[in-house]
Chain length 189, copies 2
DNA sequence: CTTCTAACGCATCGATCGTTGCATCAAGGA
DNA sequence: TCCTTGATGCAACGATCGATGCGTTAGAAG
């Protein structure tokens, strides 16, 4: 539901030290982002929060931007199950509501903002890459099921992810799950 | 067309020293953002680029986040003329194309990303506040002109600004003006 | 059990950041 | 013209950042 991958670091091996360090750093970065101002986030701070030497972070990630892009990529991969209600409309409504719910978490928003600011284009696409894949999976399944007038992924992303993420980033408050469901009729007619 | 307000700093008075410093700092911040990585942007760097002492910037803006929010606010205020084609549909199409054109400028994107990253919610709303006012103006004019089925501002923002800004921030490449025009029928039917 | 390699911790260094107290200067008003 | 006030320049200062060389350790391979 929330996309956290902390307790299942499938990176290399769950028990490895590298994986532990990586998970600790990711967690510390997210906690610091949720707590303080984003422009006060530095690598030594994250390292201290993770109980790791700053040198380790510098060597593994290099810059804060790369680290945040990595955090965003992990945070926004998996965690949201692609629904299967039997109809494309139902799938999209449930999925949009799930995305909206995820976008209500202040920690999620903080990571997104930081990744966008520090990692540029890479940070932005890291936040939505998995969402696009999920969307494509639902549309493809609908096509295979013989549904008619299935939009392509770009149209669907414009109509659903566009308003969702626009409100999350630029709006005062993100949209509600109910409102997100209402976006689907605008796409499917 | 591009929203720059550099040559007309209507802040207090065009000739004042404060206004000159403010304009120089704004210009330096935008130039550095367009040139280098965003996480390397610091107040002393901006001050040096503006030919101003860092102390001045610290005292006037305090943090990098507040400065970037101010830059974004200036950059995205005015500069885009609200069209008056006679019909709401034509107004919205021309306006959306103008927004799309503005969003194709890498400097514009750099400012937006930096403001979002460093200034949080304030930075985000600073980027779109003026767009919402322009939208409201067009919709209100259409209502007064007796047009029927005029959507409210939230619906219009979701359908137009949503996809436009979503592609600009999260997409690999921003949308074209022609594509932006195509968003209007999805709103008006 | 031994060995090997990659990752981590540690100490140190220079550079830069952000702050503060004080002097100076530009603009507007009497 | 002179004066008042707010903004800016200047020069310190401590704190922190980011990089580097080297020793040590964890984990996997044999």
């Amino acid at each position: 539901m929330d996309g956290m991958t902390l307790e299942a670091p499938t990176q290399t091996r769950p028990g490895g030290r590298s994986a532990r360090v990586r998970a600790a750093v990711h967690r510390a970065a997210q906690e610091l982002l949720a707590g303080g101002p984003a422009d006060a986030l530095t690598i030594p701070l994250i390292a201290a929060g993770a109980g790791v030497h700053p040198t380790t972070v510098y060597r593994r990630w290099g810059t804060l931007g790369e680290l945040l892009a990595d955090v965003a990529s992990s945070r926004f991969s998996g965690g949201l199950v692609v629904p299967d209600t039997g109809s494309l409309r139902g799938d999209l409504e449930q999925w949009a509501a799930g995305v909206a719910t995820d976008l209500r978490d202040p920690k999620t928003l903080a990571i997104m903002r930081a990744a966008i600011g520090a990692a540029g284009v890479e940070g932005g696409s890291a936040c939505v890459a998995d969402r696009h894949e999920q969307l494509e999976a639902m549309l493809e399944r609908a096509r295979c099921a013989g549904e008619t007038d299935v939009p392509d992924r770009e149209q669907a992303a414009d109509a659903l992810l566009g308003p969702l993420y626009y409100r999350a980033i630029f709006g005062e408050q993100p949209g509600s799950p109910a409102w997100a469901r209402g976006l689907v009729p605008r796409l499917l007619g």
